[in-house]
């Protein structure tokens, strides 16, 4: 596994202190994590780093010692402009951009706002569109039991077990749970209470070749949303991974790695 370099950079007039985990070598790739923070996705990010130089920034407010910086961003316009500043500071020139869930929505919004800044786009179970007949579940108010079933195709499988595992050590337990909860709080700021902030009006601006990956058993955003995204992004391809839920990169890592590798080759 490639060594991970954690770079800490100050952005947004020094009001946001963000950790970016950087690993691997090759063409640049930015990975934007979902509502549960970067931690659950580290194994997947490490696989991406086998072929790419991967930059995995933590969402504002989720870097150690800087929980309140999320309050420095007041809405989607701020968040998209902030993402541009982050790309500039990392000296990225039209990298591949991969996002999951909330992170995929942010990737799509950024790719629509700055079409020239994204080389290729991978959206894994993105939120951001809405159909009244298939409402997107609010993942922040699910019971433990409902959350397991909504997030995982196999709620009792190894991937689900690892995702929900809490350390036995009391101090480590508080750290793990507070990160898990606070990451949802910070990302939830931009999609509460309905994960539709008008992407449908802007999505036509996405110019990057796009791959849409969807877990066939996604209980948060129904798989039919894959077509909703695909029909709005010119030339987008869809890859459905039947044996995965909302986190295919965690539950079916190998297949997502292969699909992304093929698309970015």
């Amino acid at each position: 596994m490639a060594a991970v370099d954690v770079r800490r950079i100050k952005l947004w007039q020094d009001r946001i202190d963000t950790e970016v985990e950087i690993a691997g070598s090759g063409p640049p790739l930015v990975y934007l994590h979902g509502p549960w923070g970067l931690a659950p996705d580290r194994a997947f990010v490490a696989r991406l780093a086998e072929r790419h130089k991967v930059f995995a920034p933590k969402f504002p407010g989720t870097s150690a010692g800087d929980p309140n910086s999320v309050h420095a961003l007041d809405g989607w316009h701020d968040l998209v402009v902030y993402t541009g500043e982050l790309f500039d500071r990392l000296e990225l020139d039209a990298p591949a951009l991969v996002g999951h869930s909330f992170g995929a929505l942010l990737a799509a919004e950024f790719a629509a706002a700055a079409p020239g800044a994204v080389g290729r786009l991978v959206l894994i179970d993105p939120v951001g569109l809405w159909r009244d007949d298939h409402p997107v579940q609010n993942w922040m108010i699910l019971s433990d039991a409902a959350r397991k079933v909504s997030l995982f195709a196999d709620p009792d499988g190894e991937a689900a077990r690892r995702f929900f595992e809490v350390p036995a050590d009391p101090a480590a337990r508080v750290d793990a749970l507070s990160q898990f909860i606070w990451a949802q709080a910070c990302t939830g700021k931009f999609v509460w209470p309905v994960a539709d902030r008008g992407l449908a009006r802007r999505i036509h601006r996405i110019a990057a070749p796009t791959l849409i990956v969807w877990g066939g058993a996604d209980g948060i955003v129904a798989p039919l949303y894959a077509q909703e995204f695909a029909k709005r992004i010119a030339g987008a391809r869809v890859e459905v991974i039947a044996e995965a839920g909302h986190l295919p990169q965690v539950e079916s890592e190998e297949r997502v790695v292969a699909a992304v590798a093929k698309f970015l080759r």
């Binding site: 929980p67 309140n68 999320v70 309050h71 007041d74 922040m140 108010i141 699910l142 019971s143 433990d144 009391p170 337990r173 508080v174 749970l177 507070s178 909860i181 606070w182 949802q184 709080a185 910070c186 939830g188 700021k189 509460w192 209470p193």
Partner: protein, 416 residues
């Protein structure tokens, strides 16, 4: 010592199998499955009657509160209830204690400034202005407030309301959450620069810190009784001392469920089913509807994860004798009740007791008999507490005249 009658206005006639049908008293219960608008009309009117009866009986204040989308209490706008109470108690030495309208859920919050000012005018300056942040489910699910913004909005809204009440000139408010170009509130409260401000808090969040900093009154609206609030009170009074504030008990209000009858045995018998209804049906709220990510600020979240004193209580496994024995509900003869209450009042340094004399499915006759017995045989023994040494600085000025002390009732022979 002041004693106020608190009311939740619950749904009193839920089906017996409600707790099997629903996993939550909030959000999930379907109106057309369990409720009846005609009955609810009766409940609202009974609630108003019970509160007005408490005023006539000698209580110092009447408390309302705001909740949404639940069976537990649904005064969706407490100002509507308070308007009736304010008008109905004119000429009486009674405060209208709003605990109250929830600022983050109302946009713009100057609407609440207006409603409270109306209440202060209608009541002739008898308003206590309570400002709860609101339950997480009320604010974020029922009213769509972004969880991580609930407290930030609250603080900004309160600052705007206080300024709007007393500003001599028209001003512009260019805030983060609220922008108003010309604020010139009509009406203004009689009590200037503002009515006394009370702020409820759970004891877990950072609210107490804010309240003491602002020198307002902190209300701990616990349903677990004075016996179980020692830790919260100790932390609060430590904070008061650390911040250099005085130890005036009137900066602390506490809610307590209370049931009085002629004897201990009769009280336990009369109130058992209503206590179980309250704790099993009404108070049942699963963590995923209240521990919503962002509703606790980061430091408070970590503190709650380290130690949440309420996390271990499994209410549906307890029965009425447990609720009584653990002090969640203080029940008994007048003698028993006043002794237990006085212990709690002294132990917590409680200046305002918020007596929840209606709870659960209690019919109005029982509630009124509870109020009546309490007012005649308990209240007179409590109300002199603290007054020899402390002034209630969180009470409407016009109500500070010393009330004639009701004649203490002779010890009832039957009291155990």
């Amino acid at each position: 010592m002041k004693v106020c009658m608190f009311h939740l206005m619950p749904y009193r006639g839920l089906p017996a199998d409600f707790d099997q049908r629903y996993k939550s008293a909030y959000i999930d219960p379907l109106w057309f499955d369990v409720a009846d608008a005609e009955k609810v009309g009766e409940y609202y009117n009974a609630t108003l009657d019970e509160l007005l009866f408490a005023a006539k009986s000698g209580f110092h204040g009447l408390c309302t509160n705001q909740h949404h989308q639940n069976v537990y209490g649904f005064m969706a706008n407490p100002s509507i209830m308070a308007a009736v109470l304010a008008n109905g108690t004119n000429g009486q030495n009674v405060a209208i204690v709003q605990l109250g309208s929830t600022l983050p859920s109302t946009t713009p919050p100057t609407r609440i400034a207006e409603e409270y000012a109306m209440l202060d005018c209608i009541s002739g300056g008898r308003l206590v202005a309570g400002f709860p942040t609101g339950l997480p489910s009320d604010a974020t699910i029922s009213n769509g407030v972004v969880p991580i913004e609930q407290r930030e909005r609250y603080r900004e809204a309160l600052a705007l309301v206080v300024k709007a009440w007393s500003a001599r000139e028209i001003f512009a408010w260019n805030g983060k959450h609220y922008q108003l170009g010309m604020v010139n509130l009509w009406p203004r409260p009689i009590q200037q620069p503002h009515p006394p401000i009370w702020i409820p808090g759970s004891g877990i969040s950072g609210t107490a810190e804010f309240v003491v900093g602002q020198d307002h009154c902190f209300c701990h609206l616990s349903y677990y009784g004075a016996k179980n609030a020692k830790q919260v009170a100790e932390r609060y009074w430590d904070l008061v001392a650390r911040k250099g504030r005085d130890d005036n008990p009137y900066r602390f209000s506490f809610l307590q469920l209370i049931g009085v009858a002629a004897t201990d045995a009769e009280a336990e018998d009369l109130y058992a089913e209503h206590a179980e209804y309250f704790f099993h049906k009404l108070l049942y709220t699963p963590p995923y509807y209240q521990a919503i990510p962002g509703c606790l600020e980061y430091e408070a979240l970590r503190q709650a994860l380290h130690h949440n004193p309420r996390a271990e209580v499994k209410l549906r496994e307890l029965k009425a004798p447990d609720f009584f024995e653990r002090g969640f509900v203080v029940v008994g003869s007048p003698k028993t009740v006043r002794e237990q209450l006085l212990d709690g009042i002294k132990e917590l340094r409680m200046g305002h007791l918020l007596a929840l004399l209606h709870f659960g499915s209690m019919p109005t006759e029982l509630c009124k008999s509870n109020i009546d017995l309490f007012a005649r045989e308990v209240l007179p023994y409590l109300q002199d507490q603290w007054d020899d040494r402390y002034e209630d600085r969180w009470w409407p000025e016009r109500l500070k005249v010393k009330r004639p002390t009701a004649a203490k009732i002779a010890e009832p022979a039957a009291a155990s």
